[in-house]
């Protein structure tokens, strides 16, 4: 049956078949008479253009993202509007805190990174902490480090969340090689020069405590829980009269010069002797 042109009142309206007048909508062709719709070509072009735009757009975005996926920022500039941002900071480690559940079902490593504009806590949760320990890529006080992570803000709490061991890179300054007594003397002469530096010290163990020992009666070596946790396969038993070598960071514990190693890997017993430490 042929539909006359004049009979088709709705023929020219968009979405209606120009041949038989049936309503088609946005489809290419009329399901009744199979005539091509006037907008069919336009629709096809838009479809192809959209697909190409998506593909090229995403490729372009990928190239753009790869240029600087995590830009450097000054720690002091980080504020509330940085929430969820992926950034890289550069500074040195000034504090380390390690928390672990009683049943060891979770652990959290929090270390503070300071640059000349401010400080920020960097947090690593269980998986990342385990990864860092396994990679022997754990922070130590005094490390010059570059950390990439995402800014997490919740009220007053602001920290950089570290997602992978690969995103913590550090450089340890060269250690001053000396012995415990000499270090003590040097410190007494010019305290400011010998605090906050990295040292490689040998000495005789003169006193042993639960998480420290003294060298030559003048210098303290402190190994908190994280120092042990960072080297889980290392068990060192230090006794009095042992000769040990310690690499660590110098700080003050009350009036006593103290060395803080990064992990138990930084403590070596050169000559064995003395009581077992607990």
């Amino acid at each position: 049956m042929v539909i006359k042109k004049e009979d088709i009142k709705e023929k020219t309206k968009p979405g209606f078949c120009p041949n038989c007048g049936a309503y088609v909508g946005a489809f290419y062709s009329c399901p009744w008479c199979r005539s091509k719709m006037p907008h069919g070509t336009r629709l096809r072009i838009i479809q192809y253009v959209s697909i190409f735009a998506v593909i090229f757009g995403l490729v372009g975005l990928g190239i753009y993202a790869a240029i600087d996926p995590a830009p450097f920022v000054n720690i002091g500039d980080i504020g509330p509007t940085y929430s969820n941002g992926t950034v890289t900071i550069k500074g040195h480690v000034t504090n380390i805190d390690y928390r672990v559940a009683n049943d060891e079902s979770w652990k959290t490593l929090i270390f503070t990174v300071t640059d000349n504009t401010g400080s920020i806590d960097v947090k690593a949760y269980t998986e990342t902490t385990d990864e860092m320990i396994e990679d022997k890529n754990t922070p130590a006080i005094g490390d010059d480090c570059t950390v990439r992570g995402s800014i997490y803000i919740r009220g007053d709490e602001l920290y950089l969340l570290l997602d992978s061991s690969n995103y913590y890179k550090y450089q340890r300054p060269a250690a001053l090689v000396t012995n415990a007594t000499e270090l003590f003397n040097l410190y007494n002469a010019t305290p400011s020069e010998y605090l906050g530096i990295r040292v490689n010290v040998t000495g005789e163990v003169t006193k042993v405590g639960s998480s420290y020992f003294e060298l030559d009666n003048v210098t303290r070596v402190f190994f908190p829980e994280y120092v042990r946790a960072f080297a889980p396969e290392v068990t060192i038993s230090v006794y009095e009269e042992d000769i040990v070598e310690v690499i660590g960071f110098t700080e003050l514990y009350y009036d006593t010069l103290e060395i803080l190693p990064g992990s138990m890997y930084d403590i070596k017993i050169l000559i064995q002797g003395g009581e077992t430490i607990e």
Binding site: I3, G15, A22
Partner: protein, 355 residues
């Protein structure tokens, strides 16, 4: 049952396997939890295969065309009768497609097909407009009643629904095949032909388990017996859950394809579109999922025991809902009866007055 119900059945069955639920609490195993949506996928898969694959592979011999402007029921009825008669004359099954009528503004023109088996007649009526949401707009029927009645020759057997409404999207199909002197009419013949069989579930389960085992072995990991059984159980549970639930309806399935060749009629206990049945089923499935998540958690979070939990969240709410719906439907029925009664009384009164 509706798609979501089948999907949730697959998900629910998967959560009965502790291995996949407890994996959520161990970072190294967390990917195992993705077996749960895979269970849902296989729960949905039979309908997916049919509605997105099988039906497009059917080649129809006849298709109805009432005409967008003409809305001619006689053309439709004649086409249906031609296909029945042709099926009687030839040996092969004849397939008929009932095309829908799309209208502007998101509407469709419904037409209805009724097989009167004793009289050997096909009745076709052009109906009102309906929305894509299947809301019927009464009062939009064609001004002049458009009904066609055409006779067909052979004896017809049709056991599904009385009236077939041709509504939205892609229309329904029929297959007419001759067996002896009778033409058997199959509604949407491509549906549940092979996809809704218990045998295909077994095939999928073993195939996927084999594939998983092989892929893991390439990476140097051997799946344990428990893991393999879990995969098989989840997939089998999803597919079989779907097939068994569909057997509660009218259409039935071909349960042992390829051993059996035809669809077996269902138990006729429920209709797939019943909204209350679907809602209650989905709710129960969701509750069971939550129950499983809680009981397999290292530390269950809910302070209630199982009896309290099911009383509070299952028995009571469903009882209240069913009671409420029953009361509401009864009230509606009484209202309708009363209004009908009133109308009839009015008609009688008018007749008496005229007389």
């Amino acid at each position: 049952m509706k798609g979501l119900t089948h999907f949730m059945t697959g998900v629910c069955i998967a959560t009965f396997f502790p291995l996949v639920v407890t994996a959520a609490y161990t970072q190294d195993l967390i990917m195992l939890t993705l077996l749960i949506p895979i269970g849902g996928l296989f729960g949905y898969l039979p309908d997916f295969l049919d509605f997105k694959l099988s039906r497009y592979l059917e080649r129809e011999d006849f298709s109805t065309n009432p005409g967008y402007h003409e809305l001619d029921p006689w053309r439709v009825a004649q086409t249906i009768v031609d296909s029945i008669n042709k099926a009687y004359e030839s040996d092969k099954a004849i397939k008929l497609k009932l095309n829908t009528i799309k209208m502007p503004n998101g509407l469709w023109r419904r037409y209805s097909v009724l097989f009167k088996l004793k009289e050997r007649e096909v009745h076709v009526r052009i109906g009102p407009l309906i929305t894509t949401g299947l809301e019927v707009l009464y009062g939009t029927e064609p001004e002049q009643e458009k009904v066609a009645v055409v006779k067909f020759k052979p004896k017809l057997y049709y056991s599904y629904e009385d009236v077939t409404n041709v509504d939205i999207w892609d229309g329904p199909t029929f297959q007419f095949r001759r067996e002896g002197d009778t033409i058997f009419a199959d509604f949407i013949q491509w549906h549940r032909r092979w996809s809704h069989s218990l045998t295909i579930g077994v095939f999928f389960a073993f195939f996927i388990a084999l594939a998983a085992g092989y892929l893991y072995s390439i990476n140097g990991v051997l799946l344990s017996d428990l893991e393999v059984l879990t995969i098989i159980g989840i997939i089998l549970g999803g597919v079989w859950g779907h097939v068994i639930v569909d057997q509660l309806g009218w259409l039935g399935s071909n349960l042992f394809w390829p051993i059996t060749g035809k669809r077996k009629t269902g138990m006729g206990l429920t209709r797939s579109m019943d909204s209350l049945a679907n809602f209650i089923t989905t709710y129960i499935l969701t509750l069971l999922i939550i129950w499983n998540l809680n009981r397999f958690a290292p530390t269950p979070v809910f302070p209630w025991n199982d009896f309290e939990f099911f009383m509070m969240f299952l028995v009571l709410p469903i009882a209240v809902t069913v009671a409420g719906v029953t009361v509401y439907r009864k009230k509606q029925l009484v209202k309708e009866m009363k209004s009908r009664g009133a109308e009839e009384m009015e008609e009688v009164a008018m007749e008496i007055a005229e007389f």
